[in-house]
Amino acid sequence: MATYPRAVTRLIEAFRKLPGVGPKSAQRYAVHVLRASMDDARELADAILEVKTSIKPCKRCGNYTDTDLCSVCADPRRDPRSLCVVSYVRDLMAIERAGEFRGQYHVLGGVLSPADGIGPEDLTVGALIERVRDEHVTEVILATSPSVEGDATALYLARLLGAVPELEVTRLASGLPAGADLDYADQTTIAAALSGRRRLE
């Protein structure tokens, strides 16, 4: 039985590690690269290396950046007293696309998910509490997804933040259906969820 040369198999295996890519898609991508021009292939390889060498988490919020502070944190027009807490950078991007929110962000790096072994110490919970205290934040919007884990995370944080005086803690309003991923929601839905956010506790 004929098989692909080693270099092709290596590329197929590399693609298979991408989320949502099965053996068939991996093979299709590898063949695509084989057929592509040298320039396109080099561009792909360079782009991969560039993100790995130049992108790091923002010191303050956890957003992706190639400098110390991300573009949101560095923007003087953004209100630092209003903090939107998201699970992942992709959720931050989804909210930015909706264009409604003018405050800053805090990226948790996930949700509390005991089934996956993820507890509070695996997220940037400590840094969030510190920021809220040190940066005189007056409003925290909890924008975790409306799932079991997202709700549990929001309520856990709300309880912790309840100890901070004169802080308003709100949660994205429903309209986002149960169990949906935030980054799949369209801009109108996110905008509506933001403007209809409600107080917790």
């Binding site: 005991p114 072994g117 509070p120 799932s147 079991v148 549990a152 149960a178 169990g179 991923d181 799949y184």
Partner: protein, 248 residues
């Protein structure tokens, strides 16, 4: 292809491909059911709510070619929202679901495990004492899954367990009498709490929760049972690690 409606409890769900999920469900009639839920990560999905963890639902399931079937629709019967109001409840419910998932194979009926899990989830959602619910679940699920802890006979010599200090030793299969275990390897349980935990065995959950156990006694039993379950299942239980860190 065969289609039927099953009453299910969602044990867990995982992302699958671009926008799908794989759900692990528990049913009375068919035990564990693996079902894919197409596009269930999209906001307009009608399947997403059915496969949120710990949800009780009537699911329309279509047989697939292999082990994985297809979730075609259904209705939520009871979402047990009270569980998600507290991360410790979520961790405990996750532990119970993980044990049910790891301990069962698809296709064999599991009416008693289903009923046990349902009772425990209901009371967790109502806000009843989490540690006692967990103790009850560990005691009963381990019996249903074939590695029950004997509360009557020494796991080492087979003699009657009576008064005196007893050691909980997962490696010998459970409780050991003082003659068999004089070393400090085990967790010591006293005769009074043994009587009370025996009563857990024969009581319905709501009644069992009324049985008085001091926090100290309950902790010894809970630690011992967790070690027993972990030893016999021979897998790491991820939610147990999180639960422990929350308890610290």
């Amino acid at each position: 292809m065969r289609e039927r409606v099953l009453r299910t409890i969602t044990l867990l769900r995982r992302d699958l491909g671009e926008a799908d999920r794989l759900a692990v469900l528990l049913s009375r009639e068919e035990g564990k059911v693996l079902a894919s839920a197409k596009s269930s990560r999209k906001p307009n999905s009608r399947l997403a709510a059915l496969i949120e963890p710990f949800v009780l639902a009537d699911c329309r399931i279509i047989e697939g070619r292999g082990e994985i079937q297809r979730l075609a629709g259904g209705e939520v019967v009871e979402p047990f929202r009270g569980i998600r109001s507290d991360i410790e409840r979520v961790a405990r419910a996750s532990l119970m679901a993980e044990i049910a998932d790891q301990g069962t194979e698809p296709g064999s009926a599991a009416p008693r495990l289903f009923a046990l899990l349902l009772d425990c989830l209901r009371l967790l959602a109502e806000g009843a004492a989490g540690p006692s619910i967990e103790l009850y679940y560990l005691l009963h699920s381990s019996r249903l899954l074939g590695y029950g802890l004997s509360l009557d006979h020494c796991a080492s010599c087979g003699g009657d367990l009576a008064g005196g200090e007893l050691a909980m030793v997962p490696e010998v299969g459970g409780l050991a009498c003082p003659a068999c275990y004089t070393v400090a390897a085990g967790r010591w349980v006293d005769a009074l709490s043994l009587e009370r935990v025996r009563a857990y065995r024969h009581s319905r959950l709501r009644v069992a929760l009324e049985i008085p156990l001091s926090n100290g006694q309950r902790k010894v039993w809970l630690d011992g049972l967790r070690a027993h379950v972990r030893y016999h299942m021979d897998v790491s239980l991820r939610s147990l690690d999180v639960l422990r860190s929350l308890e610290r």
